[in-house]
Amino acid sequence: MSRKKLSRREFVAATALSSAALITAPYVRGAYAAGKLSMGFWDHWVPGANSASTELVNEWAAKEKVEVQLDYITSQGNKNIVTIAAEAQAKSGHDIFQMPTWWPQSNAELLEPVNDIMDPLIKLNGDVNGTVKYLGQADGKWLGVPASVGSQIKGPCSRIDLMKKYANIDVQEMYPAGSAPKADNWTLDTFLKAAEACHKAGFPFGIGLGETSDNVDTAGAIFQSFGAQLVDAKGNLTVKTDAVRQSLEFYKKLLAFLPPDVAAWDDASNNKWLVAGKGAMIMNPPSAWAVAKRDAPQVAEQCWTHGFPAGPKGRFAPYLPFFWSIWSFSKNKEAAKSLLSYLSQPASIEKMVVASGGYDLPAYEKLTTLKVWEEVGPPKGTLYHYPNPFKHQTLSIAASPAPPKVAQQIYFQATLTKMCLRYYQGEAMEKTLAWAEGECEGFMRS
């Protein structure tokens, strides 16, 4: 039996070669050779929208030989944010979690920076809007990849017929499908007159003043249109300013033309208002229109989603993005980044947007003119201006530009809508401002 002796040089060379091969090979091709990856994605309320995400994840998993576990977690009853809190406390759970608006910031210390994938994605898909940067970045570190799934603009969804008949406003002419908006006259003054006219006609605008997201978002955009901030970007209290006073005066006038029960409205109230045919306008993403298409087609045929009215300091629309974030305790970060990069390719994004019937909004500027928004209907073109294709309005979130951890408190404590309601119910302006200042002071604790 012959036995070949291995020289020291041969041994060193063989070891070096095999180590190099192991290090440079991204994934070893074998069944699930690249490990496991688990994801907690937001459970979409558009029927069938989850299937596009599932298909994309499975395609990627088959290509990269990764075993995936995909959970869809509903936001009903805040189950998603409760799960985020639980995983953050346990430092265990999914590798990737789809986080709504404020949660990447509130968990910033527990998230893996994704600058290495965000920079190429921005080069590929175009820049992201300011709200995505505000919510998704901390000290130059990207806390997640903006997810098109679930991201939305809560702009006006008007009844074409009622607005034309009672407010003398042709919303289709103002925001024509396929071309730029001609909405210079679409200001808060015009909006207020239209609200009054529709109220008189028995079809008041369905704008809530409760404590849930839809109510706060509208108030946020209106405050920003006046340049009103409760706390500025540096964390200074700016409650007692003329801009805030103007916003409250505006809301006081507007409230007189809204349904009397708006203080109790939640996020479903405005949808029901539109679908029941009771109002001429609501502020919502196209989910209300989608429900109307199913339950009240005669209402859906008259719906037109368009831009926000402009105030003295500009035209602002509420924008609520979701982010796909990777927990720092994830055991397969490279695979997670590879998947997020795959989900953010233009073809993947388009597939998900189409599956949502145009509800989902990509954050990237090159992806706001997808065909789906031109084509969906009835009426055809109803969602053309939904993704803000002409950058006609500044996409913003209520309580910004306050430091995000302070802004989150202002947002969830509904300080803006509470201020409007207190002032409307007869509290003196300065007392309302003092109350809000006290609240904001409390939100600044670290």
Binding site: N78, I81, V82, A85, Q89, W102, W103, S106, N107, E109, G210, E211, T212, P259, P260, D261, V262, A263, A264, W265, D266, S269, K272, W273, A276, K278, K405, Q408, Q409, F412, Q413, A414, K418, L421, R422, W435, G438, E439, G442, R445, S446
Partner: protein, 312 residues
């Protein structure tokens, strides 16, 4: 030497025998076997109740970023907040008024059921327990639709009499009334069934003796029924007070604390601050604030029961 060796081995055997006998005796003792049988439950409670309770105590002593020990800092902060005192006030209004009405309605209904002929009682008991056996999250959803700001079935009915519309969840006073009403509707059957059991245990001879003494209906209630039911009333009240103070689902579903925070109670505000506002230490502090209030109530009520037990 041999003797010594034998002695020591004999001692060891005797010791082992004593140990075995001791173990046997211990196992034979009722308290020991009871302890062993309840051990799985004790462990379960330790894991599911004691650990989270201690963990929430730990959380309540951390700063917002959960990086620093602040002792009672979170409580000091809360004591300076106007909204916190509003929540304390509302929790007391909510719990005390709901428990009083639940007890009152439970007491009255228990008497009615007690007076129903025995063969028909089961049917009544079953029907009256329905609110209590439906998961509150589900039944509250039905109430939410009845109170719906725009499509309230109550307002629709009231409109036939030229009344309303009432802002059931949109006005502070009505919203408080609505959440208390639903809690009373949900909890009264529990009182009813407890009081019914207590009523059945009052010896009939006492009523007969009272009747011979010429006691009227009210005197029979005041001097016979109530004293005999005192312990049950106290324990039921304590139990219900704890559960009502800690309520979450009814308020969360019906008003989510609004309007203008006027229906927030400890649990809903703790959720708002801790989970929605991502300030978990402050949320933990809010929910822990209930503990001393309930502990004081428990001490007084239980002391009273023990005192009466000793007297009798």
């Amino acid at each position: 030497m041999v003797d010594v060796a034998l002695q020591s081995s004999r001692t060891a055997t005797a010791q082992a025998g004593r140990k075995r006998a001791g173990l046997r005796n211990a196992l034979r003792r009722k308290s020991m076997s009871a302890f062993l049988m309840t051990l799985p439950l004790i462990l379960l409670i330790a894991v599911l109740v004691i650990y989270p309770a201690l963990y929430s105590l730990h959380l309540a002593t951390l700063n917002k970023a959960m990086t620093k020990f602040v002792g009672f800092g979170n409580f000091e902060f809360l004591f300076k907040r106007e909204t916190f005192w509003l929540v304390v006030k509302q929790s007391c209004i909510f719990a005390i008024s709901a428990v009083v009405f639940k007890a009152l309605i439970g007491f009255i209904v228990a008497h009615f059921v007690h007076n129903v002929p025995a063969n028909k009682q089961r049917k009544w008991r079953g029907m009256l327990l329905v609110p209590w056996v439906i998961p509150p999250a589900m039944s509250t959803l039905a109430w939410l639709w009845l109170f719906d700001p725009s499509y309230s079935a109550f307002n629709y009915t009231l409109s036939f009499f030229g009344l309303g519309p009432i802002p059931w969840t949109g006005d502070a006073m009505w919203a408080r009334f609505s959440v208390i009403l639903v809690n009373v509707w949900y909890g009264a059957p529990f009182f009813m069934i407890m009081y019914l059991a207590a009523l059945k245990s009052v010896p009939e001879q006492l009523y007969e003796a009272a009747a011979i003494d010429g006691a009227n209906w009210w005197q029979r209630i005041w001097y016979v029924t109530l004293p005999m039911m005192r312990n049950i009333i106290a324990i039921t009240t304590l139990f219900s007070l704890i559960v009502t103070f800690a309520n979450f689902d009814i308020v969360r579903i019906l008003t989510a604390g609004g309007p203008l925070d006027h229906t927030h109670i400890f649990a809903t505000w703790a959720f708002r601050v801790g989970i929605e506002g991502s300030d978990i230490p402050l949320g933990a502090s809010v929910s822990l604030f209930m503990v001393p209030i309930l502990a004081v109530a428990a001490i007084f009520i239980l002391r009273d029961i023990t005192k009466r037990g000793n007297e009798s």
